[in-house]
């Protein structure tokens, strides 16, 4: 997890841990043998389902048992349940995986099981509200992923999941809301590269659809970036974003302005390596322009 320091444990602590682990190992191997036997027997009962819950709580990285759990649901439990019950079972699994994600936020298998659950929510609750359960679940998911990103704003799996939810919500939230979200995350921490990346995606989409004027919008972005540069000149995220805004470097007035601004920063922070890179980038674009006679004396 980002920002969590590794701890050195004493011999006594390590010995106590070893004793505890031996007891856990005994329990784990008993559960492992039980669930794999049930799987071998193609057992799709509630009892089989419960044994997958028990072992996955101990080891949520056992991908074969996530597969078995899904097979138990589709072959045993769902065919014997009405849509409301199916929705409840899937909601329970979403709660289970949320609890597991708190301990294991970067386990691919947990995130993909959540997606599977969401994709299997049945139509309902009524014929007039066929999307009712689905809409409720997608809205909850946005809340879940925000919690995950509050805990670790750089968890790329959570950001991927966020994009997955936004892409599936019906109706989708307006892109301006997502732009606001990225602003909030960036202002909380200028080195949140994930948020800068998301911002680049949202902006490119808005520019392409003509919902935002690219030139005016970029002006706002330069102001945001300048604020970030001066706050933390050694953060790479800011300079990478800045280089992207500079783009092909066709706007020579812009290049001159940015070179001047960054040079002022460099004068204040001569030891800042990133600032050296940051000023080199537009200068490089400017020289490229000079070679083709775009820049005057």
């Amino acid at each position: 997890m980002h920002g969590v320091k590794r701890v050195q444990y004493s011999k006594e602590v390590l010995e106590a841990r070893k004793q505890r682990d031996q007891a856990r190992l005994k329990d784990y191997l008993a559960l492992y043998e039980q669930v794999f036997q049930k799987r071998k027997n193609k057992d799709f009962s509630q009892d089989a389902f419960d044994s997958t819950t028990n072992i996955l709580r101990m080891n949520p990285e056992l991908y074969t048992i996530w597969n078995y759990r899904r097979n138990v649901m589709t072959n045993g439990i769902f065919p014997a349940s009405d849509p409301s019950k199916v929705n409840d079972i899937l909601s329970d699994d979403l709660s289970l995986t949320f609890a597991l994600l708190k301990e294991h936020p970067k386990v691919y298998w947990i995130w993909s099981h959540r997606m599977w659950c969401l994709e299997h929510v049945p139509d309902g609750p009524t014929d007039d509200q066929l999307k009712g359960w689905k809409t409720t679940n997608w809205k909850k998911e946005l809340f879940v992923v925000e919690k995950m990103l509050d805990a670790d704003a750089r968890n790329f799996m959570a950001w991927n999941y966020r994009r997955y939810i936004l892409g599936n919500m019906d109706p989708p939230p307006p892109p301006s809301a997502e732009l606001t979200y990225t602003t909030k995350k960036i202002e909380a921490n200028f080195s949140n590269f994930s948020a800068w990346h998301q911002r680049s995606r949202v902006l490119m989409s808005l520019w392409k659809e003509g919902k935002l004027d690219e030139k005016t919008s970029k002006q706002t972005e330069f102001e945001l970036v300048q604020n970030a540069m001066y706050t933390d000149p050694d953060d790479q995220s800011v300079w990478i974003y800045h280089a992207w805004l500079i783009d092909a470097g066709e706007d020579t007035a812009l290049l001159r302005r940015e070179i001047t601004s960054i040079q002022e920063l460099l004068d204040e922070q001569p030891d800042s390596k990133c600032t050296v890179y940051g000023v080199a980038c537009p200068i490089q674009e400017a020289h490229f322009g000079e070679a083709f006679g775009q820049l005057g004396p």
Binding site: L25, L62, Y108
Partner: protein, 203 residues
């Protein structure tokens, strides 16, 4: 000066001993809790030994037997551990181990190729298994596996490459899926392996 010199020398025997010990600690909780990574771990350990020119530090026959014991006959590919489901991750590691051990003749190549190609999605990306998790790292795995088996001609190259190119981001890197932020794993795999290998193959 002598301290500096000794600290510049890789302590190969110590590293070999460490790798050997990893397969021996069978009463260790972590050993059992990582069974989902076993096939990968064997490849990583073997590869490290090869880099140190100590390939024989692990028994060849035992290793091949273990790899073959992970064959999932229902799926036609390899799981991470005996009785584990086939997955593209463990399938590549198995092929890599067998290639290094000069034992690829033990593989039912046609079935493995069928498994890998069955995971190729309409969008061009690969899934990891029939449950459908997609990721460009699986695209790398598919290309690498097919290349090692000499079956790259079975791949729809245009479809594979077009998806990868759509994963290119504002910073020049690549993400796991379209829209995902750049990750060094994807960058390493996709540029150095997939795209390069496919260019070579197409020439």
């Amino acid at each position: 000066m002598s301290n500096t010199t000794s600290s510049m020398t890789l302590n190969i025997p110590l590293h070999v001993k460490y790798i050997q010990s990893l397969g021996e600690n069978k009463d260790d909780l972590v050993y059992h809790m990582t069974s989902h990574l076993r096939m990968n771990a064997i490849y990583w350990g073997l590869n490290a030994l090869c880099v140190m020119k100590q390939k024989d530090a692990l028994d060849r026959e035992e290793m091949i037997d273990f790899v073959m014991s992970c064959w999932d006959d229902e799926a036609g590919a390899f799981g991470a551990h005996p009785a584990h489901d086939a997955h593209i991750l463990s399938t590549l590691s198995a092929i890599q181990v067998l290639t290094i051990q000069d034992a690829v003749d033990r593989v039912d190549v046609q079935r493995v190729v069928k498994f890998i190609l069955s995971l190729h999605q309409p969008s061009g990306v690969f899934a990891g298994d029939p449950f459908g998790e997609i990721d460009t790292r699986f695209s790398y795995i598919a290309v690498q596996a097919l290349a090692l088996l000499g079956q790259l001609d079975k791949l729809n190259v245009d479809k594979t490459v077009s998806y990868i190119l759509r994963c290119r981001n504002f910073d020049g890197g690549f993400g796991a899926v379209i829209g995902a932020e750049s990750h060094s794993a994807q960058g390493t795999f996709l540029i150095s392996s997939v795209l390069h290998r496919l260019i070579i193959h197409c020439i």
